[in-house]
């Protein structure tokens, strides 16, 4: 698809909005529909879109494999560490009330970090699966 000028230009414009929408879904999840899972899928979709239009090597240059693999584990770790932070500050595991100055602020902070962890893991998993599938296809092409 590298030769289609219209697709390339439109993709460049659209990807910025897709990532922006993912961030909106992530941080506006407290007030409207959305949250970490949806935002993770949308941001992964933006990168997959880039990979389809510009080719897998280009996408791997933007979001390299080691980063994706780190994201897989980092999201779960971040989520679990929020729980540990609750213990260290004197509450129960995954108890957000102690994270802030007052309980409501603590809840906001806890939910923010937890959703961020979900986003990182989901985006990482989706991207990794796509990379592995698409990578297999492109590696088998040259011999045939």
């Amino acid at each position: 698809m590298k030769d289609y000028l219209v697709l390339r230009v439109v993709a460049k414009i659209l990807i910025a909005f897709m990532l922006l929408f993912a961030l909106y879904v992530q941080f506006h999840g407290d007030f409207g529909p959305g949250g970490g899972f949806q935002a993770g899928v949308i941001s992964a979709a933006a990168v997959i879109f880039y990979a389809i239009i510009y080719g897998l090597p280009a996408a791997r240059a933007v979001v390299p494999d080691w980063l994706v693999e780190t994201m897989l584990a980092a999201g779960v770790l971040l989520y679990a560490l929020v729980g540990v932070a609750g213990i260290l500050l004197g509450g129960n595991y995954l108890d957000y009330f102690v994270l802030g100055a007052d309980p409501v602020a603590g809840q906001h902070r806890g939910i923010f970090w937890v959703e961020l962890g979900v986003l990182i893991t989901v985006a990482g998993v989706m991207l990794k699966i796509f990379y592995v599938f698409a990578g297999r296809g492109s590696e088998e092409e040259p011999p045939s």
Binding site: V25, G32, V76
Partner: protein
């Protein structure tokens, strides 16, 4: 329309058409969920069911053939099992309280507390986010771990296959 899409998916032998129809089915499902006032779930269905899984299935299709093979024998027994299970499930729904019944157990257990005190306790207007991330934090941690495990499993499987292919081929 969903029934038409389902029948078409079953009958169709061209897998490319099946993937596209499955994406259309997911979008119809998302509109149904919006009609049921569940925008969070609808968003997930639209982005995962219609978006990512379509792309992944097309990627898998790229690695295989585009046409489904003719079945070797007539699938009478699986069809019978599927029909009986479906009838049993439909029979089970008769025992459930009606969808609009405010006295149903699901609406009287912990939901009133979430709805009435959720805003004060968490300060988060979207009740779905409050339940998901705060009240049911353990569940969501488990779900995230499931997603992580699925990703690691796929990576482990496909990577080993690729390495073995490389060794066998060269």
């Amino acid at each position: 329309m969903m029934a038409v899409a389902t029948v078409a998916i079953v009958v169709q032998r061209n897998l490319f058409a099946v993937v596209v129809l499955a994406g259309a089915y997911s979008f119809l499902m998302a509109t149904v969920l919006v009609a049921l006032d569940a925008p969070d779930v609808a968003m997930t269905e639209a982005s995962v069911g219609a978006g990512i899984s379509t792309v992944l299935l097309l990627g898998a299709l790229h690695l295989t053939q585009g046409m489904e093979m003719k079945p070797l024998h007539r699938p009478i027994l699986p069809l019978g099992v599927a029909v009986v299970t479906g009838l049993l499930l439909a029979y089970g729904t008769l025992g459930l309280p009606a969808y609009y019944d405010p006295q149903a157990p699901i609406h009287t257990h912990v939901v009133p507390r979430y709805l009435e005190q959720g805003l004060e306790e968490t300060g988060v207007p979207n009740i779905v986010t409050a339940v998901l991330a705060s009240y049911r934090g353990y569940d969501t941690l488990g779900e995230t771990t499931v997603v992580f495990t699925a990703g690691v499993g796929v990576v482990a499987l496909l990577r080993r296959l690729r390495r073995r292919d490389g060794k066998g081929g060269r």
